[in-house]
């Protein structure tokens, strides 16, 4: 098994494009190493992208934020301004595993592991984040909701990697929130996840919203109907009920060891409502 740690995106892409047999990108390794140990994966080449500065940087760009694919949850948490602008994204990244895991796990890895239950993905999708991909044919931007096609299925070509994410500029009175349901208080994989990002006007009316649900379908969902259900409202009780209904209607979950179809569908509505209320509360105080 070969290990390479190139210091440039081009170098990483070249290695992956030229790879014979199975090649894997190593960011935080919190999924890759587990799958290797469990004999689920036995790659011939591992490309560690943490030595590439673009993947490790957090910077302001066009009024928004660019986050390197290999930035860890713990590093995001320590970034005060980012945390203020995108509390939902940062809290989602810090729900991934334990303190120890947050010291390693990255946004890029969480997305590219291709799990519908990834915690940071609904938050990124709700945020309207765009993934910047670099590959043999150059660079392209793809909305995060279009990167994952299904369990372990990604829209990446051979040799293509996620280099960074761009979070859009934040209008005044905007904020986001992410909630997930797990049986314990920590450590579990999300049974349901809900990310909401919204903007309110001076009168407290919701002018824009994005709602994303995790672990309720083969891929993380962007639920337009759920957003429409609250836009133009103050998230009063009827709006909350419309939101819950729209969220549940979008669910196409499975029964597994972590939850039943009924449970996931029911709780998806509850979490969407609770996340929206938190986001609203944050937005109002974000002048």
């Amino acid at each position: 098994m070969r290990y390479e740690a190139p210091d440039s995106l081009e170098g990483a892409v070249a290695l992956l494009a030229a790879a014979q047999g199975e090649a894997r990108v190593l960011a935080g390794g919190t999924d890759l190493l587990v799958q290797m140990r469990a004999d689920v994966l036995d790659p011939d080449l591992i490309v560690d992208i943490k030595k590439i500065k673009e993947t490790r940087a957090v910077s302001e760009e066009k009024g928004g934020w660019r986050i390197g694919a290999a930035v860890t949850g713990a590093e995001l948490k320590e970034h005060a301004r980012l945390k203020k602008a995108w509390p939902g994204v940062v809290e989602a990244a810090n729900l991934i595993g334990s303190t120890q895991v947050q010291g390693r796990a990255t946004l890029g890895g969480n997305l590219c592991n291709g799990s519908p239950a990834a915690d940071s993905v609904p938050a990124l999708i709700a945020a309207g984040a765009v993934a910047t991909l670099v590959g043999p044919k150059g660079t392209r931007d793809l909305p995060v909701e279009d990167v994952m096609l299904g369990p372990r299925k990604l829209a990446l070509g051979k040799g293509e990697i996620v280099a960074s994410f761009l979070l859009p500029p934040r209008p005044a009175r905007s904020s986001d929130a992410y909630l997930r349901f797990i049986p314990r208080t920590e450590m579990d994989i999300a049974v349901v996840g809900a990310g909401v990002s919204l903007t309110v006007d001076g009168a407290g009316l919701i002018t824009a919203a994005r709602v994303s649900l995790g672990a309720v379908a083969a891929r993380v969902l962007l639920v337009a109907e759920a957003a429409q259900a609250i836009v133009g409202s103050r998230l009063d009780v009827p709006a909350q009920e419309r939101l819950e209904a729209a969220a549940r209607a979008a669910c196409r979950p499975i029964d597994d060891k972590r939850g039943t179809v009924e449970f996931r569908t029911q709780v998806a509505g509850v979490l969407a409502r609770r996340a929206a209320l938190i986001a609203l509360d944050r937005a109002r105080s974000n002048n």
Partner: protein
């Protein structure tokens, strides 16, 4: 293929070792460097018994490849006591009987030290969530959490 030749710093000492790509930092610490204080409870990042500091960041050494630590600083339980004297956390764990079988203790201590370095006066809730990645099956966590908070008080007194 040939093994990787890695140079790193472990508990302040310069070390060199050879490892295969698939060997984790935990494998290297235990099997190559004979530092068996870090324990393997799950090899999947779910129990925290292998907790170490990597460049000042708390991680599970079972989720780090040996070849990733080239040129980096690793601190393990073996480096916690300074010379003759135990770290206040180690002393408090003994005083408070905060261990029973002791298999989780090295990981818990390394994680607790990392917490107190960031947050010298943590609340009980803060301690519990910080240590959520360190499974203990014997103590019910009660005496562990108390010991961490009491050690924090001792450290604050300096």
């Amino acid at each position: 293929m040939a093994k990787h030749h890695i140079e790193a710093t472990v508990n302040g000492d310069a070390v060199e070792f050879l490892c295969e790509t698939e060997e984790t930092l935990l494998d290297v610490l235990r099997d190559t460097l004979n530092l068996t204080g870090s324990k393997e409870g799950c090899a999947s990042g779910d129990c925290g018994a292998c907790s170490v500091m990597l460049d000042g960041r708390l991680v599970c050494s079972c989720l780090v490849l040996g070849c990733e630590v080239a040129g980096r600083k690793v601190e393990t339980i073996e480096g916690m006591a300074k010379g003759e004297s135990l770290h206040p956390l180690q002393q408090q764990f003994l005083k408070s009987a905060a261990l029973q079988c002791g298999i989780c203790t090295p990981g818990v201590l390394v994680a607790s030290k990392a917490l107190l370095e960031r947050s010298p006066d943590p609340t009980e809730t803060e301690v519990r969530y910080w240590l959520a990645g360190n499974l203990c099956r014997c103590t019910g966590y009660d005496k562990i959490v108390s010991a961490v908070m009491d050690a924090a008080a001792t450290l604050r007194k300096g």
